[in-house]
């Protein structure tokens, strides 16, 4: 999504959180420097995050992970919490185009980066080719791991992996599907790669 476009969901998010989210605006960082740590009377930090092209200004406990920020503060609940310890991949998002586990990233660490979630990848009217491929190949059963699978798969296609099924499986091993839809996930990724 281009940075000056807003999806309906983004608009809803902005309205719902009411944190004064701005589009295309920029904030100077208010994170303290290591030389002069912030006074922490309230224990909260002002953090700006750029998510799916929209800037959000938030007041957060420093302990808040990027995952919890997305779900609980920005109400972008497409990103899922599975294990919360970097072992399942359900929380996968893109930071500056690279796939990461948002559960092991503090929100404050992601300040200044371009964060993309499943909501920023496509929407029901404009599906990303990977989303369409997952639909066409039934690449899920319960669907809980699916957004993480899709975020991981789209980033993986830009990484240095070979063409074989074995390479796709290896590249996707950080995304666990408890239902065991791996066969169809593999087929979906194979198709999306050709697209």
């Amino acid at each position: 999504m281009a940075s000056n476009e807003l999806t309906r969901r983004d608009m809803l998010t902005v309205a719902a959180v009411g944190t004064g989210a701005l589009v295309g605006g920029s904030f100077s960082s208010e994170v303290a420097s290591a030389a002069e740590p912030a006074k922490t009377g309230s224990g909260m930090m002002d953090i700006s995050l750029r998510v799916n092209g929209a800037e959000h200004r938030l007041s957060l406990d420093p302990r808040t992970t990027l995952l919890d920020t997305l779900r609980e503060h920005l109400h972008l609940t497409g990103t899922k919490k599975g294990c919360d310890h970097g072992q399942c991949g359900a929380c996968t998002v893109h930071i500056d185009g690279r796939r990461v586990n948002s559960c092991l990233t503090l929100a404050a660490m992601a300040e200044g980066a371009e964060i993309t979630t499943i909501e920023g990848l496509g929407d029901p009217d404009h599906l990303h080719p990977m989303q369409r491929a997952f639909l066409e190949h039934d690449g899920y059963q319960c669907g809980y791991c699916t957004s993480g699978q899709i975020m991981s798969a789209t980033a993986m296609l830009k990484e240095q992996w070979g063409e074989s099924d074995a390479e796709i499986k290896e590249a996707m091993s950080g995304n666990i599907c408890r239902c065991g839809a791996y066969k169809n996930i593999l087929a979906a990724i194979r198709q999306a790669r050709k697209a």
């Binding site: 994170v31 030389a35 740590p37 922490t40 970097g86 796939r99 586990n101 092991l104 091993s173």
Partner: protein
């Protein structure tokens, strides 16, 4: 997770100053640097790590892989595992390192985890990670739950009566075989520590894992120039084919000439309390022909003195087979 203050270091000096305020850089450190966060944030969620202060070092200019003047490689501490694994220099001259990195964790975690952070990766011993159980590494003097408990994944080399936790890193095993040097900036300036001296044996102080002191910041890892004609390989054996820690692994660097091995560096992973260099295996390889018999003898030498516990005795045989196979692949 316990509360902490979060700040961002603009330059190494700022980070070092912040870190120097802690009483230790080992278990229980009040100040922690965060880079990838893949170990630290995980352990903070478990209350195993409870820093009062977290200093984000991600903006320090330490994310480059450069050729060193001596023909070696200078790797910035913030180079991500995935970038290091795919570096053309590493793939050409130090394939064992690329293979080790790509065998570890997942695509997501490798995009996050850094070179410096991986050097400080913590054990996966379940008792270390569970604050409800005694653990001498986490809480000195409380006892070791693993020696009589679930120790299938733990060490058989370098253990003590206080701790048998294994070092879980793949990267560190390759760096050990490559004889890397760790560059550390601290309050006293810069020092260079050979990787063989960087990790400490548990002994009576398993809470102390490395030579890191308060304020110390790993800035680079140096690799010596590739040994002429050497071939290298990393083999990792585990319970599943991907995204799993090693039960046993082997990193080998070998060069042969005139039908005999002239250069041999061997390190084992998954079986030691630290990345396990084996001078015994290296001595058994030198000047010998590259044959199965030689490799088997070297593998025997590598595990001599290994101590099995109630569930992990199989690792001794597994490590031998792992090393034999890695040596065969590197010389095939």
């Amino acid at each position: 997770m316990e509360t902490f203050t979060f700040s961002r270091a603009a330059d190494p000096a700022e980070a070092i100053m912040a870190g120097a305020a802690a009483s230790t850089a080992q278990q229980g450190a009040e100040v922690r640097f965060v880079a990838g966060g893949t170990t630290l944030i995980d352990l903070m969620k478990l209350d195993v790590e409870t820093p009062k202060r977290v200093v984000d070092i991600n903006r320090l200019p330490l994310a480059k892989v450069e050729r060193a003047p001596d023909g070696g490689l200078k790797i910035g501490a913030l180079v991500r595992n995935s970038d290091l694994a795919h570096s053309a220099d590493v793939q050409r001259d130090y394939p064992v390192l690329s293979e080790a990195l790509l065998s570890g964790a997942s695509g997501q975690l490798r995009n996050m985890a850094t070179t410096g952070g991986n050097l400080l990766q913590r054990t996966r011993c379940i008792y270390f990670r569970n604050t409800d159980t005694p653990c001498n590494k986490r809480e000195p003097g409380s006892g070791c739950s693993a020696i009589e408990g679930f120790n299938r994944n733990l060490a058989v080399l370098g253990t003590s009566e206080q701790c048998i936790a294994s070092n879980p890193s793949d990267m560190n095993v390759a760096l050990t075989a490559l004889e890397a040097t760790i560059v550390i900036q601290g309050v006293q300036g810069e020092r260079r520590v050979p990787i063989g001296e960087f990790f400490l044996l548990p002994g009576d102080t398993p809470n102390r894992e490395t030579v890191m002191q308060p304020g110390d910041l790993i800035t680079h890892v140096l690799l010596p120039p590739p040994h002429p004609g050497a071939r290298s390989h990393y083999l990792k054996l585990r319970d599943r084919a991907s995204y799993e820690f090693a039960l046993a692994s082997a990193a080998v660097v070998l060069a042969s000439e005139g039908g005999a091995i002239r250069h041999a560096r061997v390190a084992l992973g998954g079986v030691g309390t630290r990345p396990w260099r084996s001078p015994e295996a290296e001595a058994a390889l030198l000047s010998k022909p590259a044959t199965r018999a030689t490799f088997a003898a070297a593998s025997e030498a590598a595990v001599r003195g290994a101590k099995p516990y109630s569930q992990n005795g199989f690792k001794i045989e597994l490590a031998k087979r792992c090393l034999t196979s890695a040596l065969a692949t590197a010389t095939a």
